[in-house]
Symmetry: D2
Subunit: 364 residues, 4 copies
């Protein structure tokens, strides 16, 4: 799938941003800067906050409620940047009004709501997209291309670490706060999306904050591969790193090393599996295992603002009537892993086997 901006000479699409709090200003700024969009309105119950944002983004109109927005303004799409628990109601009303919708992560506060949103958009023929911003970084796009081209071979393991001395959130645990980033990236870069065989979560709340502040997710994938995610609010050092080990090459994305974000190592272990069946002596080891210690390659990455590409992609999806890479179905897969993680935590870290995944996908 191409992720290039649409450069056609169509008139700009008309959008409103709903929610002028933490993330809304970033969305508004990028819509305002885009030649493909016209930012028509800012909507927030706090009208003063809406007006302050409007002043910085070219003076679009302001609206104090979704009803008012939909009644008074001719828009093609809305971008939702309100608290997660409100996503469902806002999106459903907008979809019912025939609007395209992009939603800040997570898609919704639970997968039942998320599934309804996906189904409603499918029924209405509108685009439903998640603002999984990290997926539109140069690094994630490059990884997606490398995996699509089979550059790493078969995936053997994935290990993602996102730790920091972070803000302990009042309403969600560390899984729901940080892991959506890792999970949405995995869904984006893996050729078939993120479809784990099971989900197991280990959490710890050593501060007795009433929720996990440290978390580990284990997700077996097909063919014996294993994806693992580590999130932590209590780490004194900041790490944002993803390792994707393949049968041919292994990739490391170190997001905090701007001089070498991506490294692709031509190193690995090769097993001659035929041999392994026939021999069972200590000599076997020498005979059937070999190690590659080849070159390392760090591709140059272009520099651009991921959110700028995200809003372009939203426009392209609408114009082409085709799902974005981070469409509602993708966001729903992420949501379901998060729910499974919570279920695993509630069940003494027992693995959760998500039996509905394939059925669900038909709906989307």
């Amino acid at each position: 799938m191409s992720i290039a901006p649409d450069t056609s000479i169509n008139p700009a699409l008309r959008v409103a941003v709903v929610g002028a709090g933490y993330w809304g200003p970033n969305l508004a700024r990028n819509f305002a800067m885009s030649s493909e969009w016209e930012l028509v309105a800012i909507c927030d119950m706090d009208l003063e906050r809406a007006r302050a944002l409007a002043r910085k983004t070219g003076e679009p109109a302001v609206a104090g409620s979704l009803d008012e927005l939909l009644a008074n303004h001719d828009i093609d799409a809305i971008a939702i940047a309100t608290p997660a628990r409100t996503h469902y109601a806002i999106a459903m009303q907008a979809i019912a009004a025939g609007k395209h919708v992009v939603v800040e992560k997570p898609l919704a506060d639970n997968s039942v709501h998320g599934r309804e949103m996906v189904q409603a958009a499918a029924g209405a023929g509108t685009i439903l997209m998640a603002d999984h911003t990290y997926c539109y970084t140069p690094a994630a796009l490059k990884i997606r291309d490398l995996l699509a081209d089979g550059e790493l071979g078969e995936i053997l393991y994935i290990d993602s670490t996102r730790i920091n001395l972070g803000l302990v959130q009042p309403d969600v645990d560390v899984f729901w706060d940080l892991a959506p980033h890792d999970l949405s990236i995995l869904d984006f870069v893996l050729p078939g999306g993120l479809r784990p065989l099971s989900v197991t979560a280990q959490g710890a709340d050593p501060l007795q904050a009433g929720k996990s502040c440290i978390g580990y997710l284990s997700m077996p994938l097909d063919n014996g591969a294993l994806a693992h995610v580590n999130v932590n609010w209590l780490s004194p050092t900041k790490i944002r790193q993803m390792v994707i080990g393949g049968s041919k090459k292994t990739l490391i994305w170190d997001d905090l090393n701007p001089q070498q974000r991506l490294s692709i190592f031509d190193r690995g272990v090769d097993l001659d599996r035929q041999e392994m069946i026939r021999t069972d002596t200590e000599d076997r080891k020498g005979a059937t295992i070999s190690y590659r210690l080849g070159d390392t390659w760090s591709p140059a990455l272009s520099e651009f603002e991921p959110l700028g590409l995200m809003v372009s992609q939203f426009a392209a999806s609408i114009r082409g009537n085709k799902p974005a890479p981070t469409d509602g179905a993708s966001a729903l897969r992420v949501l379901r892993v998060l729910e499974d993680a919570s279920a695993s935590l509630a069940n003494g870290s027992a693995p959760q086997f998500n039996t509905e995944t394939s059925a669900m996908e038909n709906a989307s």
Copy 2:
């Protein structure tokens, strides 16, 4: 407990090294260099290998069997560096002959054997010690002191990573190959030893090598703390890092950074728990959580060969008739966690609750 060399003027203790393969030469060399020890003999079924090692270590005698060794040589102690499956038989025979014993890790091939070894040594009044070499590094010793002094406060979490493009072993999986290092260090530095409430293992064998090549261990500790270990034979980069997060400070041991192996961060999250009970609004967050962003300190570490300190410690334990920090009971705790990990793997990553730990400890 002091871990200083014994500097008394006692005559040197007499030791034989059993096994002249991979690790035996390191033991023999350190015993030969020590003023507290006289290396009396090298014992190996392969007499040529024994003779070659003897030539490099001051020409001790050679013996082709344990019977021959015990019959012909006046020794106080033996050091066992043979394959793990032979540790039990050799140690039991030596203990029965009244010899002190130091054993290369792991203590034995299973905990039933290990427990018998501990009990036999206790009955015979001889010292049984494990050569957990990493525990005698300057970094581990410093960490042990810091934790004993309460410098980090209450332990909140531990995260240990030991990954590398390592040799896929013919006889053991990655847990039994690499995790003994992490586990023995944890047992050494934690004031009460390593006593997890449960053990859960996630493994992956994406090369279909017939054993886990990638592994994760989760071990809840008292008070909501969580210890986690990641071992991996397939990583293109080498990491040996342990993070110990405490309520007061957090420590990072980066063993591959010789210029700053230990860093102690005065950073963390503080919760006012009283407050938390009374309030339940979003304001709570600001009111009850605070962040420390203090200085980082990297203590100077002296430089010495860990194995040299280990053989000194063995001598000191014998002379003082007191257990070493890495005594049989410690090695048995490590062994039991490894067994629990294997049991968890065999049971779909179900947590294993080791109910015998406390009973066991009485025996040692």
Copy 3:
């Protein structure tokens, strides 16, 4: 000298920013945000550019010339962010009108002009200050305090590296582009300011760009110490590092490592100089030289915008009628080292001995 913001309840000082190009917007934004300042006007020959900047900074007035600005607006001070060759004329006119002046680096295009500016301000009783922004970073402030307190002991050497794949400038060489940062920091942190005994420059123009793209500055200081600066536009990697070696401790400022910008090493070489006079044998070495290998310490640094502190400092200097740490005299010392570097380059890298420094200082 204290560098704290003035928190008095005086009415805000009135300032105009002259120059709305590259750096002017940063100055205007910080003056606009400061409670100590009122941003009265933006002045630029390009009125459209002035208006665009005014729209983003609270709609101050705009003026198309300095004459217009001074004639029509009641201001206390101006901030000059125009090309270096125009600094002199603008500053002299403003000083003559009794205005306080802060100038973007470098102070002027040559030291004759710079000296006149310093003398004019002294004569008029107005504040003349240079916007040496790096001096107002948390790291530079901490270093200044550490050196003022003698924490490093006697300064032995300074080594500063500022290299990058940078923009080859059309009008200045790499010394005049990058070294002002290093030199102004040195002048700021060294207790007596930057007063080298001589200045030697090595330059290279391997691209035949008509100017040095790579440069090295050597500046012997008192007591055998040596300061060295390396600037480079052609480096594929970016380094911004300053090492300050002292007789007691050594400090490293790694500006691109946000997790540990400052490290203070209690490591060094100690010579017993008395001994050295009496002995002259090879034994001398062991007897008189000793090495310290102590702890490393990384102080926590607060986070703030350096330019915000700079504008506060400008206000405090005006209100207290006292020179800022980066006053005209300081900026003149930096300018003279740059001129000496150019002279050294023009004379086959011969050392330049700046005989006027002490005389000059009297004037300021």
Copy 4:
């Protein structure tokens, strides 16, 4: 030139090591391990030290003097690992006796001696080689190949840093102690050897140790390129890094990063020089300068002991009667730069123009 070991079935060459102090044991061990050499004798005035070394290297004979060695033992070559001031006398006597000679760095204590040694060996038809060990590292060999193949384009600059908290030497300054490594590497990797247009040294002795403890060497090369070397005994951190900037690519050798010792950056600045002649306006910049920000590549390096390759190369040179890459002429170039550095230091850091280089080369 190929640097592969000679694999012919010739009988082993016979060698004696002269000097059993610091470096001699490394040479003796590598000669003893080599199938191309037979270690015949160890020669040291301190016979006990010679015997101790002989015991560890297969029991060659021992000799207490060079006369005794040459009189009593049938040898093809000697390896000199004695203090630098004795190299000349020992080498000249050995060459006069028709022996091939390899000398520990530096070749001699001054270039007059060094030149005589080169001429004597040329006259006698024997091989004279310097043990510039770093040149036989996998990284240096790779760099030599890359430069020979023109992979970096034209050399623009070289910047080498070798700093550490090192032993302050009793008899030499930091230039003579550390810079031979950098200079010999440069002579080895640069296609035409190290032939600077001039040599300028800046030194500092802030501890008043009576010699430079910190040093900078600047060496303009052909075509506007500049080589620079920084050596320092007082640095709290250890750096061994060489940057070689080329018109096509730039290489960084970070010898303390075993996971990525060599990085080759396809980054740089391109000037269109034609354009530059015709235009002289500010627009020129945009028109004629462009930046490449391409991939980074880190080649895999094999692992071997450099000294093992050095002794192989010595054998190959003798058997093929061809100079080694680190032959006497190369070592003499290094020696002359060191002498020029000393002369520059003694002359207030004035550049030294070595007018004899080309004449000298004819002799070798």
